[in-house]
Amino acid sequence: MAEQSDNVSQIVSPEEELFMGYCKVLDVRQDRNLRLTKTSRDITVLSKRCIFALLRPNATCQQSLDNISQQLEKVQELLYFVCEDIDNSNDFWRHRKQWTPGLQEYLEACTLYHFIRYKVIPSMQEVEQQYLTLRRPRASTADANFQPQHVNPTLPQDDDRLQPEADHSTSLKFKLTELDYLLGVADATGELMRLGITAATGLGQADPFEIRSVLGTVHRGFRLVLAKGGYDTHELNSKVDVMQVSLQKMEQMCYSLRIRGGRPLGLLPASESQLAADD
C-alpha cells in the first residue's frame, strides 16, 4: 500500500523490507568507497609534494633527503588508515579502484627517493620493508582531517570482514601486488628522465649516461613482462609507451653530450661530475 497522505506511517511490503537490508549493505560499501577515495586523494597530494621536493636543486643534500623521508612517513600514516579499512582480502581487491591511484603516486615518490639516496631502483621486497611497513599513527600527530570515520556495519552478513585482530599490533604491512609495483616504477621513470635532463644541463648531480642505462634496463624489464601478454598488461601497455619516449629523450640528450665531448660540463665552476661515461 503506497502511502496516501503525508503523515500516515508508511506500510512497507515485505519485499521492500528485504531491500532496506540490501540498502544498508550497499551503503556500508559506498561509505568505504568515499573514505578510501578521499584518503587516496590526500596521499596523492602529499606524494606529489615529495616528488617536487626531490627534483629541487638542493634535494640531494642529506638534510633535505631526511626532511623528505619524514614527509614520506606522513603518507605512511594515511596508508595505515587505508590498510585498516580494507583489512580483508575481499575489500582489498573490491575497492582497488579507489586506493590504487594514491598508492601508485606514493610508490613513484619512494622509487625516486630510493634512487636519489641509494642509486638503485628498489626491488619489491625493499619497497615492502622500507616503505610499506606502516605503524599506527599516535593520535596527536594524526591530522584530524584524515581520520576516517568507521561506519559501524549493522549488517555483518555481507560484510565478509575478518575478525579484527584482538590487540592492535603496532604495525601493518600494505600488501604490494606486482601490478601496483610496476605502475609506480613506470611513473618514476618519467621523473628520473627529468632528473637526467637537468643533469645534462650541468646543473644537477645525476649522471645522464647513468640514468639512460637505468631507464634502458627498466624498459627491457617491462617488455619482458609484457611479452607474456595477458589481461593485466593492458594497464601497463600505455605506461611502457610513455617510458619508451622518456628513454629516447635521454638517448637524444646523451647523443648531443657525446658529440660535444661527452661530459656534462657544469656551467658554474666545474663540478667534479667528470665521470667516466661508460655503458
Binding site: E15, Y22, D27, W93, R96, K119, S123, T217, V218, L275
Partner: protein
C-alpha cells in the same frame, strides 16, 4: 663524494623483472583457465535462456518451468567450477571474467521463481519463500549451490533482478494474446512492488541506476495492459492485489 659513484647494477634489476614476469605468467594462466571455464557457463546459460524465453510462445508455462528447473544446476555447477579456480581471497580480482554470467543466472532464476508464483502453484518454486521476489538464497536453491561454493555479489544479484520486468511485460502481452486475462494484473503488481523496492536504495553505482531508470517504462507498460483489460471488463474488476 660524487652523487653517482655506484652504478645501478643492471644485472640485479633484470632478475627483479624476471621474477615479476613469472608471477605475471602464473596470473595469466589463472585468467586463461577462468576464461575457458566461464565459456562453459555461458554455453549452459544460453541453453537455459533459449528455453526460458519460449515461455512467451507457450500456452502453459508449468511444464516449461519444470524443464527449465533441470537446466539450472549445470549453470550452478559451472559457476562452482570457475570459483574453485580462483586463488584464496581473490574473488574480486578476477570476478570481472564471469560476473556477467552471475547476473544472467540471477535474472533467469528470479524470472523462474516469479513465473512459478504467477501459475499460483508455488510447488515448483519450492516451499520456503512465499514471496514472488526471489532472494539470493532462492538463486542458490535453483542452482544447487551455496554461498561457500558460489559467491553471488549483491550488486550482480540486483543487476540481474532489473532484467525481470522487461520479460514479465512481454509475458503479460502474450498472455493477453492467449486470452489468459488474469495474468497481467498480477504481473503489474509484481513490477510495481519491485520498482518501489529499488526506490529504497541509495543508487550511486551508475550501471544499477541506469537499469533502474529503464524499469520505469516497464511499470508504465504493465499499467497500460491492466488499463486496456479494465476498460473492456476483460479482467475481474477487483483492484489488482499486490501479491
Amino acid at each position: 663524494n660524487t652523487l653517482f659513484r655506484k652504478h645501478a647494477n643492471s644485472k640485479i634489476m633484470s632478475d627483479v623483472f624476471q621474477q615479476i614476469a613469472e608471477t605475471f605468467e602464473r596470473t595469466n594462466e589463472v585468467r586463461e583457465a577462468l576464461r575457458n571455464e566461464a565459456k562453459e557457463v555461458e554455453r549452459a546459460l544460453r541453453e537455459l535462456q533459449t528455453l526460458m524465453l519460449e515461455v512467451h510462445s507457450r500456452d502453459s508455462t508449468e511444464p516449461l518451468l519444470r524443464e527449465a528447473a533441470a537446466l539450472f544446476p549445470p549453470v550452478g555447477e559451472g559457476l562452482a567450477k570457475v570459483q574453485r579456480l580462483v586463488p584464496e581471497g581473490q574473488y574480486y580480482r578476477f570476478c570481472g571474467i564471469w560476473s556477467w554470467s552471475v547476473q544472467q543466472a540471477c535474472f533467469l532464476a528470479a524470472l523462474h521463481h516469479c513465473l512459478s508464483h504467477l501459475d499460483g502453484d508455488s510447488a515448483t518454486a519450492g516451499k520456503t519463500n512465499p514471496s514472488w521476489l526471489a532472494t539470493p538464497e532462492d538463486v542458490h536453491r535453483l542452482l544447487h549451490t551455496d554461498p561457500s561454493s558460489v559467491t553471488i555479489d549483491l550488486e550482480d544479484f540486483l543487476l540481474g533482478l532489473c532484467l525481470v520486468p522487461t520479460e514479465l511485460v512481454r509475458f503479460a502481452t502474450n498472455c493477453v494474446i492467449r486470452e489468459r486475462y488474469s495474468v497481467p494484473e498480477r504481473v503489474a503488481g509484481f513490477i510495481g512492488n519491485l520498482f518501489n523496492c529499488f526506490r529504497r536504495l541509495n543508487l550511486k553505482n551508475d550501471s544499477l541506476r541506469k537499469r533502474f531508470d529503464g524499469m520505469k517504462y516497464e511499470v508504465k507498460k504493465a499499467e497500460e495492459i491492466v488499463y486496456d483489460l479494465r476498460i473492456r471488463q476483460l479482467a475481474g474488476n477487483k483492484t489488482p492485489e499486490v501479491v
